[in-house]
């Protein structure tokens, strides 16, 4: 069953299109990584899925129902971001109690154990917590709610390395015990990629790539050698990144659909083929120019 279905989803704020004709489906019980640069529309998408925002055009269905202002969707979706609003008058313990009341599948025992493990104090207030502690508390609520669709938007903001590790581990353990559909957005792809099954890459409000994370590792290939040889070899190929290195040498990244002939030619021209990591692929695909920041410093 599809948990999320988007068809031509568009969201306009004033004159800007935050989401631009986005179409994809997310299947049940998969962990999907939502990757995109700042301002690419990730948060708008997640808020539309959660039913906070109304689509301008197109269609979005969550659990086969329209998501906007839908009580059933609200009961089965939890959206955690780094600007959570918890009632200021409630202590941390009271927030957990209220969450327990609202979420049918809430695991109070797990919540209490995590609460103690991360050394929270019952009588403290959310607004007095540090940024990292807030994120940690959000994570507890997000995990323990056990919602059929759980969405974490930059969940590790401000967390130190140890807590981030704990978080990923806790997320995975709870997912194995209670499978559910999880959407995870993060700037740190290299940190989350092992947890993911699929990846959804967004650029300027559009879906750019949606595939199993394993395939992303083999999606692109890097090539380097003498500039003229690289240029010759990459002719008629889609170059997604290129950079001059050393004297008269170039490193280029192309889509990895090479023929046997391409391999032969590369060998003949003394070009070295190298793997490209997933997070590098994402950086190259989401950057506006082929040279990245280096292009800014080129003066003609």
């Amino acid at each position: 069953m599809n948990v999320i279905e988007c068809r031509g989803l568009t969201k306009v704020y004033g004159k800007t299109k935050a989401l631009n004709h986005l179409s994809f489906t997310i299947e049940e019980n998969k962990i999907t990584g939502l990757i995109g640069r700042n301002g690419s529309g990730k948060t708008t998408l997640l808020k539309t899925i959660a039913g906070y925002l109304r689509e301008t055009s197109g269609e979005i269905k969550v659990f086969s129902e329209k998501s906007f202002n839908n009580l059933m969707v609200s009961a089965n979706v939890i959206y955690i971001n780094d600007q959570m609003n918890f009632p200021t008058a409630l202590t941390l313990r009271e927030v957990l109690n209220v969450s327990a009341m609202f979420y049918e599948k809430w695991d109070h025992e797990l919540a209490n154990r995590l609460f103690d493990y991360f050394s929270f104090q019952s009588t403290h207030y959310y607004n007095d917590l540090s940024k990292g502690m807030k994120s940690t508390f959000n994570m507890i609520v997000g995990l323990c709610a056990r919602c059929a669709l759980t969405m974490f938007d930059e969940p590790t903001t401000g967390m130190d390395a140890a807590v981030r590790k704990d978080f990923y581990r806790a997320l995975l353990k709870d997912y194995i015990a209670y499978p559910r559909t999880i959407l995870l957005s993060s700037h740190h792809l290299e940190e989350i990629e092992d947890l993911l099954e699929d990846i959804l890459l967004i650029k300027e409000g559009r879906e750019h790539l949606h595939m199993p994370i394993g395939e992303l590792k083999e999606w692109a290939i890097g090539i380097q050698g003498l500039s003229e040889n690289v240029e010759e070899w990459t002719r008629n190929k889609e170059v997604i990144y290129s950079k001059d290195i050393g004297v008269n040498r170039t490193y280029a990244v192309v889509k990895n659909n090479l023929s046997e002939a391409d391999h032969q030619k590369a060998k003949a021209a003394d070009l070295a083929l190298t793997q490209v990591t997933s997070s590098d692929v994402c950086v190259y695909l989401t950057s506006k120019t082929k040279g990245g920041i280096d292009d800014v410093f080129i003066k003609d």
């Binding site: 990923y168 995975l172 194995i176 394993g214 793997q275």
Partner: protein, 126 residues
């Protein structure tokens, strides 16, 4: 035990190789039940689907076999298959690289063999 997480090699391949090592080391005998995808996922903090892909890979190579509803088990000739595979693929590739590198460095064939012999005797001496 920790995988090489430098990102250059797909995780499922690394899982496959790790399982092969476990079998070669004798930690899993023939017809013994091997880790489930969920155990592997927990062990390495990876997605269970990725772990399953690693297991499927070994099943396709007949290193593991599946018992419906019970999980994956080590084939009786698993060790043999792994050793053959490594000889024919991994070792061969390494040898090719060694030969190429020695050519680049103008190391003669005799010299290279001598180097290998030195390493071998060094090992025996320890």
């Amino acid at each position: 035990m920790i995988l090489n997480m430098d990102g250059s090699k797909p995780i499922y391949l690394q899982i496959g190789e790790w399982l092969e090592r476990e079998i070669l080391n004798g930690n899993f005998g023939s017809d013994q039940k091997i880790y489930s995808q969920y155990q592997l996922a927990e062990l390495f903090t990876i997605n269970p689907a990725t772990a399953a892909k690693g297991l499927t890979l070994l099943a396709e190579e007949n290193i593991l076999y599946k018992k419906r509803g019970l999980g994956m088990f080590v084939s009786p000739n698993a060790k043999e298959i792994i050793i053959n595979k490594r000889k024919n693929q991994t070792l061969k590739k390494l040898v090719i690289e060694i030969v190429m590198e020695s050519e680049r460095l103008d190391v003669s064939k005799e010299e290279l063999i001598q180097m290998i012999n030195d390493v071998k005797t060094g090992e025996a001496g320890e």
